[in-house]
Amino acid sequence: MGKRVVVTGMGVVSPNGVGIPAFLHAIQNGISGIKFMPRYQELNFSCQVAGMPAFDWESLKTKNYISEVVFHGLKGTNIGYGLVAAMDAWADSGMDWETEEPRWETGCVFGNSIADTEAMKNVIAKVDNKEAKKLGSRVVEQAMNSGVTSYISGRLGLGNKVVTNSSACATGTQAILMGYEFIKDGYAKRMLVGSTEHVDTYVYGAFDSMRVLSRKFNDTPEKASRPMSITAGGFVPGSGSGALVLEDLDFALERGAHIYAEVLGGSSNSGGQRLGGTMTAANSTGVVRCITEAMSMAGVGPDQIDLISGHLTATNADRQEIQNWITALGRGGDDFPLTNSLKSMIGHSLSAAGSIETVASILQIVHGFVHPNINFEDPNPEIANLVSLEKLPVKMIKKEVNIAAKANFGFGDVNSCLILSKYNK
């Protein structure tokens, strides 16, 4: 029996709200964070909308997230988002940012996909122009995949395991799961976990070329992200970051920390790109195994799941995802759990999706509600055939949520699923 692991702090940078209060208000009221992007129209992208947080870049300096010296030369948008989410979570957990000594008991698992390519453009231009000497000292630390964890752990003096994970759209849930496992197994008392993503113009363009993005709602951006609907024509890229402070229960109780929820367990696996799984499509057998194993590790039966926070990106994979949940839980039709997709409001923020959606799941547990699926006025009949539409709410439902399952599935046929619970003494 491992240690119990609880959530004691949360922070979020989301397209529909920066900071927990704004984000909570947005998800309770079904507020979309998707905006038209004039630049994407100029660039002849098919999809010209995105979820971009209303992020005050200067606040990194003015609110003392980082010093003026560190701020000078910081170009990585993903790092800025991650710093704010992580440090807000830390403060929310009731702890000071400043420390003289390393905090040996606390580690960090934070994920992202790639560095800010837009910022790297300047690097490429200088090198090609034979001016590599002018790049300065700040490029490598922001180009490296571990940039975000380095900035976070350096600012807060984290001295336990510091790991950067990357598993495409499963990154966020996987980061939380890894942090949970380190605490459960006794390697750390506290882990700052989460993920960040800035979908820059170049990454966005590459997705656009794959024809997997929503392209028919450029005039009505708030309608563009439509998971599970018949008009779902692809996902809407989003950016942001979510972060959680996880702690050993006894350690948290000792310092009188506020406890939001408990992480009961989870699973991370891969479909091996076999049995129908490919680089871009999930092997359903792998997905079902991941969910089943998560419940088993958490000691939770399928009937105990009150809420599914789906991956549900608004592509043609939505139907199969619902089918996979039905298979894994042995529950369909009227018996299917309430299910929602935060992506209907904020789009798909790739590596950051799992952590932002986990923050949303915990807020639903803490405040007793199920957030709406917006833009779900025209359900895909193939999904309506599988589960009762009442289980896919279009309006917020006030309801006690004891246990939520949060899963994400990513390119490379990777899966991660977390089981989250109300904290019960």
Partner: protein, 85 residues
């Protein structure tokens, strides 16, 4: 440029790289960039790059190695300015 003029300009070049603004205001030729101004050693490269741009000079590796305090910075900058003139 006189040494005093270079020093005044150098303050502006160094400013973004130190949080010790009080010390910066009162620097003299003996002020050590790392020990006194608490500048991250990696940032010395950035100061050199900024100085090159500001004075339109090139600071080679050997000269850069000498730039550890304000006085030696001024030495190198004035030497390069003179070479240019």
């Amino acid at each position: 440029m006189t040494r005093t003029e270079i020093l005044d300009e150098l303050k502006k070049v160094i400013a973004p790289y130190t949080t010790n603004k009080e010390m910066l205001a009162s620097i003299n030729e003996q002020t050590d960039l790392i020990k006194d101004l608490k500048i991250n050693s990696a940032n010395l490269v950035d100061i050199i790059i900024d100085a090159e741009a500001k004075y339109d000079i090139e600071i080679d590796y050997d000269s850069a190695d000498k730039m550890v305090n304000v006085g030696t910075c001024i030495d190198v900058i004035s030497e390069k300015l003179n070479q240019k003139a």
